[in-house]
Symmetry: C2
Subunit: 309 residues, 2 copies
Amino acid sequence: METLLVVAAAETPVYRARFAQAMPDLHVVGTDEGFDPAAVDYVAGWHAAPGLFATLPGLRAVFALGAGVDALLARDDLPASLPLVRLLDAGMAEQMVEYALFGALTWQRRVHDYDLQQRHRLWRKQPPRTRGETAIGVLGLGSLGGAVAGELARFGYPVTGWSRRPREVDGVRCLHGDDGLVQLLGETDVLVNLLPSTPQTRGLLDRHRLGLLRPGAYLVQASRGDQFDHAALVDLIDDGCLGGALLDVFEREPLPTDSPLWTHPRIRITPHVAATTLVEPAVQQIADNIRRLRGGEPLQGVVDRRQDY
Amino acid sequence: METLLVVAAAETPVYRARFAQAMPDLHVVGTDEGFDPAAVDYVAGWHAAPGLFATLPGLRAVFALGAGVDALLARDDLPASLPLVRLLDAGMAEQMVEYALFGALTWQRRVHDYDLQQRHRLWRKQPPRTRGETAIGVLGLGSLGGAVAGELARFGYPVTGWSRRPREVDGVRCLHGDDGLVQLLGETDVLVNLLPSTPQTRGLLDRHRLGLLRPGAYLVQASRGDQFDHAALVDLIDDGCLGGALLDVFEREPLPTDSPLWTHPRIRITPHVAATTLVEPAVQQIADNIRRLRGGEPLQGVVDRRQDY
């Protein structure tokens, strides 16, 4: 019987119960349970202890329990020959659409303005904005970004998408490359960042680039926390250049209690929940891929390590 | 030349400019400008001074600048023979969809929970909810309610609608009558109230009926402020029976500064802006109806005064 090692702490029993239905002939153990390293065929998880993979001589594949694989790529105990597989959607695109739409509506309907008025018991109508007047920019057009851009466009927003290499999404104006990024930022009211964390994207949204956004623009940050400059964001909001931000990811998580982001009246913070991995579709995808491995078929969602995502 | 009297204070110049394009042969004046009462053929507005209509012997129709006509119906200077015409949509349905969707996402994505955690710099993931687990109830299935119910259903929420008399909306389970209301409330997580203000709906959402909602349910109130019991709402939220509310309309507007609603952490207040009248479509509809009057054709949007809406 093959063994899957789950690195998901308290969630191991949930995964075991699901795999018992989806793939009864798979033995599922957690890292905090007794297991024989030599018997482990597969790993599913996020943040395994340093060096763990080097202790698993029979490892045939690593399944990331999420769309982002930067933490796994940064390790030095994953042989280049080992398939590293990411989840394709698994219910995350739907959630990301909701999160981005909530951010877009927050800006369009001036929620932060009205919240601040409410603090002062102030009854004052602000000029309305239509969807057509709300220019959305989506960075990253992979499985999450493409879904978000397409759905926001279907809802009636003018949407521009950007990716490093040329992509196409129905109903979305797609730009690429350095010039495309500068153009998108200058024409965007609500920036939704869904870029993967790679050496190329780290620090991408620096003070200069955030300053290119339209006056009063809003940032929805839901990919990784290492891509933009938090201090610059706060300064730009305080200077009136930006209108606010909805932040789900941070350089350090949990966000340290002394971070000034917690108390800013125009910044809403959520604890890395924009799109959480849903166990059922995750198990389904992993089981499908294990069947492909057994049958000698190519896996779905294998990370191209030269591209870093 | 026919004369239209606009009762919209500071907005009169905006309406005049639009009518100059849509109907150049119409003379447009404001109540704060010099005008000859005997020359007025039409009135467009919200809250005309008491007795104004009795001073206009040539009045042929009154156009409400909104969907709700309760303020006009409550007057005693509008002869029963005079057509009272309401706006049909005029861009308001789109806005109401946005407002209701914002409310639904607020509940589904636990925004109040995370906002309260943010106040305490607390990083804690709450159990996610899917759209399928978010039961929406829409009260009122007229031009606004029908659009909201249909769009929320298309977005993936299970939606039940209710109206006094039987109605049908694509993709929406429609109930009616007293029993239907009780059934809807007991199965609703997010209640969107879009009922018109009539003698039948005033006080409809009293303490008892609000208490029928599912535990932790959320109220989106965007029609009129005389339909529910604000004190009961606050009590039910404080008791943990309800999860919060998004309120746009109130019994007294502006909401008095001493209202406890202003400072409640689970109540978001907007100043009657859920759906504002957009000048361009409003002028288009009024001009179309004036052309119909001139041509002896039936008007669109005439209020059936026996039904109060």
